[in-house]
């Protein structure tokens, strides 16, 4: 199953997503948690050590491209196979959850776009 979590800022999306991911993993599900927040902190809500969390390499922006069709609808594409991205950038979180950071805004992007 593919579950997305949304809501207004501060509503507790990350806390709920982190708890849910670990509970699903404990129930025997293979869980890939994707933090798409430009300012990500799902790692901490998953219970990763803060120093380890700070060292996770985000998936490079160049791997992901956004396209817009004639109706103005956006879609997301990847230039690298998803399996390869998970193998190279997936971080091990408690209970066997794998975490990917996608979309983190880097300091050199501040003010751009």
């Amino acid at each position: 199953m593919k579950i997305a979590v949304a809501g207004k800022g501060g509503s507790g999306k990350t806390t709920i997503a982190g708890g849910l991911a670990r509970i699903l993993a404990r129930s025997g599900q293979s869980v890939l948690a994707i933090d798409a927040d430009p300012n990500p902190n799902l790692a901490v809500s998953l219970g990763m050590d803060q120093d380890t969390a700070a060292k996770i390499r985000p998936v490079p922006h160049s791997f992901i491209h956004h396209t817009e069709d004639a109706n103005g609808r956006y879609s997301v594409g990847m230039s690298v196979a998803p399996e390869q991205i998970v193998a190279d950038y997936g971080a091990a979180a408690p209970d066997g959850v794998t975490l990917l950071l996608i979309g983190r805004v880097e300091p050199d992007q501040a003010g751009a776009g």
Partner: protein, 134 residues
């Protein structure tokens, strides 16, 4: 545009099967949830639900249930306001680790069981967060 909707518009959600919209018991949060639900349905997300969070009273729960009913949004879980969650946030740790018996954890466990029983059995579960900048 309301904060966060640009993420949905960007197509991040196009492959999601289930969207959980986390909602707090105050009007702006409910209003945002209603808009997110409408957008997600327009994008073709098959299952869109609300998850109430930080609920402190019956009045809070009623407010969320009434607003969500008006938006045709089922409320899958009522996660209570929980001092253990607040403490975990303070410490930068997971509530599962510092207070595994917290009420909020019990409610999330029920939610996880519900999601698993409703989904087609699959070898791979994915939890994606499509998050709103604070």
């Amino acid at each position: 545009m309301e904060a966060g909707l640009e993420h949905l518009k960007r197509g991040t959600l196009e492959h999601a099967e289930t969207l959980l919209i986390v909602v707090e018991p105050y009007f702006k949060s409910l209003e945002a949830a209603g808009r997110i639900a409408e957008l997600a349905r327009n994008l073709g997300v098959p299952e869109v639900y609300a998850v109430a969070n930080k609920v402190q009273s019956e009045r809070d729960e009623t407010a969320i249930r009434e607003y969500c009913a008006a938006c045709q949004l089922d409320v899958l879980a009522i996660v209570p306001h929980d001092a253990d969650v607040a403490e975990a946030e303070r410490q930068g740790r997971a509530v599962l680790d510092i207070a595994p018996d917290a009420n909020a954890v019990a409610e999330l466990t029920d939610l996880a069981n519900h999601l698993m029983s409703n989904s087609v059995q699959s070898a791979t579960g994915q939890v994606a967060t499509d998050t709103v900048p604070a």
